[in-house]
Amino acid sequence: MIVKQLSVFLENKLGRLTELTKVLAEHDINISAFSIADGTDYGIIRCIVGRPELAYTVLKEHKFSVTITDVACLIIPHKPGGLYHALQIISNNNISIDYMYAFAAEHDAVVVIRTESTQELIQILQDNKLELLRSGDIYQI
């Protein structure tokens, strides 16, 4: 249930983001989810892509500072209260979220969540009958 996310450290320099996406495009790597954490002089790009190991290797070859981070991808129904229900379970179990971002799929929404222990988070979500995306599924979105 663990999903591999790519994190890339980027200086805020014109064209760096374009370069990053170009490298992925040239290697036929699809981006399923994407977020930018924005600092004053650098940003962190977090994305979930098809074939993360390949993406990691080609980005390294192109001198990007990239790491692979474990995250969980939670499916929530596309309706009011869906996110609230999930977050309540997480906070009741004393798990703090480092960061999260979301994207909408066809009928549902998907929330990417990073916590200290991804394994623990997945266990709790499963115990509470919440639906998780498997890595095989998400890389194909």
Binding site: F9, I44, S65
Partner: protein, 431 residues
């Protein structure tokens, strides 16, 4: 190991007598052959025959780099052109270069002091030595080259740059010694690790110089590739590399005082300072034939120590160059040397020794920005950790310098690597 034990360990008294005699000879040669010095001596009412003891040196006038420029190209030479067998020139960033000349005997002197230097670092005819200083007008490459041949090492005159080739020959030829600038040595160390060559090379000694560096930089290089890194000092006006060299004690560099007399002065007043005090290093080249210089102002700031070294040498030791009096940045009234910033960055495991210092003036206030690379394995995908690192660097700089710097983290391996002397300061202030 000693190349010339008799002179390197001679008594201070013997040395004093030798210096006195050689100083007098040099002054006579200057008086007879260099109009610039003859006029100066006449103006000050000095005659070489009045100067018979080295203790009188402090009464004599200084020579400045500007004097070399004013007499460009050959005006300060003390021998006719047909006795000059070599010319070197330093690249002047502004205006004319500085030209230096050597007679056959000067080249022999240079080879001798370089042979002493390399032997001091334990280099002998059983070594294979890669000379990665620039060859050409710069004195680094050829100076080290002749000394290395003299001690019988197998010399690879590869010159600076072309890192791929450096690594290839290092591996294929089994080089045991490398000579280059410390900033290039840091870059080569990183490359050796990145290419996973550590098990395949035989490097054991580094001879690094031509720019000031810190103790932290030494540890960085020594620890990353497991060699012993020695500081060599010199400047082309005095002779080139080989003016002084560190022994195995790595506790200051021995100056070859039978050829070069050092003094430490207060750069503002010109007054000679007591032993151990920090000031500007000044040299008198008592044996040089082609271009003898009297009390030449190096602009390098350091200290001198006359106690006998544990290695047995009696020759005075100079401390590290902590900066150049013209490298010193004055930021909001505080004296800042790039080497201080470097020592902070090397002490932090999270940053590399590659950095740029940018000074600006905004609304009449100096601002200091330091761009620094984060070590690859230390960067995380959490903004708060990176921001915490910025604060940590800022705090360490403020502790040392008493100035708030703005820190900019840049991507690993994105900063320029220098194959010669590093350029790490950009001062945008128009004063």
């Amino acid at each position: 190991m000693f190349w010339n034990k008799e002179i390197e360990c001679s008594s201070r008294n013997e040395l004093h007598n030798l210096q006195s005699k050689r100083l007098h000879d040099m002054l006579l040669r200057m008086y007879n052959n260099v109009p610039f010095y003859r006029n100066k001596f006449t103006e000050l009412g000095i005659h070489p025959n009045d100067i018979t003891n080295v203790s009188q040196l402090s009464s004599l006038p200084f020579t400045y780099k500007q004097d070399l420029r004013d007499n460009y190209p050959f005006g300060l030479f003390a021998v006719p052109q047909h006795q000059v067998v070599r010319l070197h020139a330093s690249s002047g960033t502004t205006g004319k270069p500085t030209v230096v000349a050597y007679t056959q005997k000067d080249l022999e002197t240079w080879t001798e002091v370089m042979a002493r230097s390399l032997t001091m670092a334990g280099i002998s005819n059983s070594d294979i030595m890669q000379v990665a200083y620039g060859y050409g007008l710069f004195t680094g490459g050829l100076g080290v080259h002749y000394g290395a041949e003299k001690v019988g090492a197998s010399v690879i005159p590869i010159s600076g740059g072309n890192t791929k080739k450096q690594l290839q020959l290092m591996e294929d030829f089994g080089s045991t010694v490398i000579a280059c600038t410390p900033s290039y040595a840091a870059f080569l160390s990183e490359s050796i690790l990145a290419e996973k060559l550590l098990d395949k090379i035989k490097l054991k000694i580094g001879v690094f110089g031509a720019e000031p560096w810190t103790e932290e930089m030494r540890s960085f290089i020594q620890n990353s590739i497991g060699i012993k890194a020695y500081n060599i000092y010199g400047l082309s006006e005095i002779i080139g590399p080989g003016v002084s060299m560190e022994c195995e004690c790595q506790n200051g560099s021995h100056i070859f005082e039978d050829h070069f007399i050092p003094e430490i002065i207060n750069p503002d007043t010109g007054e000679v300072l007591p032993e151990g005090e920090l000031g500007e290093l000044v040299f008198t080249t008592i044996t040089k034939e082609a271009l003898p210089l009297l009390r030449y102002r190096t602009r390098d700031l350091t200290t001198l120590h006359y106690d006998t070294c544990a290695c047995g040498r009696t020759m005075v030791r100079m401390g590290r160059i902590i900066g150049r009096s013209d490298d010193m940045l004055i930021i909001r009234g505080v004296n800042v040397f790039p080497s201080q910033v470097e020592s902070v960055l090397i002490e932090l495991a999270e940053t590399t020794p590659h950095y740029t210092i940018i000074v600006n003036r905004e609304n009449n206030l100096d601002t200091l920005e330091i761009q620094v690379e984060v070590v690859e394995q230390y960067w995380t995908d959490e903004m708060k950790v990176l921001d915490g690192l910025k604060k940590k660097i800022q705090h360490a700089i403020a502790n040392l310098l008493g100035i708030n710097a703005s820190i900019k983290l840049v991507e690993p391996n994105s900063m320029q690597r220098f194959e010669g002397k590093a350029q790490r300061v950009i001062d945008n202030r128009k004063l």
